[in-house]
């Protein structure tokens, strides 16, 4: 069996759910200009919401759709009631990062309080699938669904950003917030929507990640946060197309690395990519106006 092709296939699946979270994160960064450290916890919220609903005998994919809505609503509420007051005070971005860190700490611990710190997994009917051969690749139905969902969402987001008034407003705000405001774009509404989108996408990525690794804990999204950040920074923070490219690089590289290094270091490959990008090309592959 060609292990290279197999790992490449896994890498593409990983690139799929990384891209789902990374595009939301980069859109949000482009518009709010601060990093959301609680993003990993929005992923955890998604994974646990889908789990709770599935255990109430609700169809898994319906549960996932509800989890996406929950993620979006939680992100919106946190933005409105926790982050927005700080933004109104013109809190420096360094402190915004610490505020989101506090938010993340609260979410992790609320989940731990509710469900304990044990590893959880989706019911066997969802995860027990036999892999089948697809040319040189090896895939399960869930992996194909992940890839299809990610690809579909990326195309949909592309059209949203280029064809709809909301998407154009987002791009305008990301390019030049002051100019966008002068042109009559409702900054508050755009900010609300970008949080709904980024929270919902993070929740979906959380479910897909949990499917991929098989189990999850209250801290699992937080640990994966830097893989997402790697994709965001490599592509160019604030650039949705860059984040897709960054996700492809990060996902494929971490999976192929398993062929060469101990799989315990899998995530460290993503950290390495993040560090190399930060040191050598902090503006990313597709630079945006924002300087980091």
């Amino acid at each position: 069996m060609n292990s290279f092709a197999v790992e490449l296939g896994f890498g593409l699946v990983a690139a799929g759910f990384i891209a789902v979270a990374a595009v939301g994160a980069t859109l949000q960064f482009g518009i709010t200009n601060y990093i959301n450290f609680a993003l990993g916890d929005y992923m955890t919220i998604g994974a646990y919401s889908a789990w709770v609903l599935t255990s109430r005998a609700i169809n898994f994919w319906v549960a996932t759709a509800v989890a996406v809505v929950i993620g979006g609503v939680v992100a919106l509420l946190i933005s409105r009631f926790v982050l927005a007051p700080f933004v109104r005070r013109k809190t420096p971005v360094l402190y915004m990062l610490i505020v989101t860190l506090g938010v993340g700490l609260i979410i992790t611990n609320v989940i731990q309080l509710l469900f304990g710190s044990d590893q959880q997994q989706y019911p066997a009917s969802v995860i027990d699938q036999s892999a089948f051969h697809l040319g040189p690749f090896l895939a399960t139905p869930n992996q194909l669904i992940t890839l299809g969902l990610a690809a579909g969402l990326m195309i949909a987001l592309h059209f949203m950003l280029t064809r709809t008034a909301l998407g154009k407003g987002m791009r305008a705000m990301s390019d030049d917030p002051d100019l966008a405001r002068v042109a009559g774009i409702d900054a508050g509404r755009i900010t609300d929507w970008v949080w709904v989108i980024s929270g919902g996408l993070a929740a979906l990525a959380g479910v897909l990640l949990a499917l991929d690794v098989g189990s999850f804990t209250p801290a699992f999204g937080e640990l994966f946060l830097f893989v997402i950040f790697a994709a965001v920074v490599v592509g160019g923070a604030g650039q949705p197309n860059g984040a897709m490219l960054g996700a492809l690089i990060t996902g494929v590289a971490t999976s192929l690395a398993v062929l060469f290094v101990n799989s315990a270091y899998k995530n460290d490959v993503a950290f390495l990519i993040l560090l190399v990008a930060l040191v050598l090309r902090p503006q990313g592959i597709i630079p945006s106006r924002r300087s980091i």
């Binding site: 926790v82 971005v93 360094l94 990062l97 506090g102 611990n109 710190s117 995530n267 300087s291």
Partner: protein
């Protein structure tokens, strides 16, 4: 007697955390460096101190670690501080050069995760996930029993904390401390006045990390073991919260922050009158409270419980009168 033992133990933690908070305050409070890897430097200080004091690792004991020099505690402690400082030179030299402040935090965080994985998985270094254990109690010249020893160890711990507090005070009032604050307030202005901002940031990070390394070396003296589980990322935030709650840019604030967050909040939640089967709720409850306190302080009292004093610069009277006759 157990109450005395408990209080002495708390005193030792207090000294260790005060040193940690002072070091973080030099980095973030004075220089504005967002060092999210801070706890890793504490761990390196502890590990290096441990392997300087322990004898060589043998295949027989089933433990593997580097060095094993059986050197006296003072040498080992200094080595721990130096090791943390050198690691700070390497990590800071890589990350601090040209990034925006929050991305410096992301980069350092990623580095500390990578370091965590390496220390945990690569057993020849510090015995992997199991960690180094059985570090002999330092400075035990009088064959004290465990209880007496804890009380006795308060003396060197307190002395080191006081010494490092004094150094931090001197630093903050020196021209160097003023340059750091200028850098924190406005990097462009500091650079215009001929300050090398990269070197200023790096030096503040190194000094702060030496504090962390010394705290680690001091604390391994009574913890006697160090494993990755005790320096997970969450531990960093507790120190961060202490320094922010106490008041950034001010050493008295750091001490107060440790008292409020680590001692009062940490011990207070431990002593909650919960039935035994609900004890597992204590760590998440503590996490929620710490997160909430952090956000509340940043919103309602962003300068902390003891705000940084505004430094006043008095012109010398004679110069003044000479200028305005």
């Amino acid at each position: 007697m157990t109450l005395v033992y408990y209080a002495a133990n708390l005193g030792l933690f207090f000294c260790g955390y005060v040193i940690l908070a002072l070091g973080l305050n030099i980095q973030f409070g004075y220089a504005g460096v967002l060092n999210f890897a801070y706890i890793a430097f504490w761990a390196i200080g502890a590990y290096i101190t441990a392997v300087f004091m322990l004898g060589p690792s043998t295949a027989f004991s089933g433990e593997t670690y580097i060095l094993g020099l059986r050197l006296p505690f003072i040498v080992a402690l200094l080595a721990g501080g130096v090791a943390a400082g050198l690691l700070a030179v390497a990590m800071g030299g890589l990350i601090l050069r040209r990034l925006r402040g929050d991305f410096i935090g992301i980069g350092l965080f990623a580095l500390s995760f990578a370091l965590y994985d390496v220390v945990g998985n690569y057993t020849p270094l510090f015995n992997g996930w199991a960690g180094v254990i059985g570090v002999p109690p330092p400075l035990n010249f009088f064959n004290l029993n465990a209880e007496q020893y804890i009380l006795y160890y308060l003396i060197p711990s307190g002395l080191l904390a006081v010494l490092l507090y004094w150094v931090a005070q001197r630093l903050s009032r020196s021209p160097y401390g003023r340059a750091l604050r200028a850098l924190r307030e406005d990097e462009t202005v500091a650079a215009t006045f001929g300050k090398n901002t990269f070197r200023l940031r790096l030096s503040a990070m190194v000094i702060g990390c030496i504090y962390a390394g010394l705290a680690g070396g001091l604390m391994i003296g009574f913890l006697s073991a160090m494993a990755p589980a005790s320096w997970s990322a969450a531990e960093t935030f507790i120190i961060w919260t202490a320094v922010i709650v106490g008041g950034l840019g001010n050493n008295r604030g750091s001490v107060l922050g440790v008292l409020v967050i680590i001692i009062l909040l940490g011990e207070g939640t431990r002593l909650l009158p919960l039935p035994l089967e609900m004890q597992s709720l204590v760590p998440p409850l503590r996490g929620i409270i710490i997160g909430a306190v952090l956000i509340a302080i940043l919103y309602w009292r962003p300068k902390g419980l003891i705000p940084e004093e505004r430094t006043k610069y008095h012109l010398v009277a004679s110069q003044n009168s000479a200028a305005n006759p």
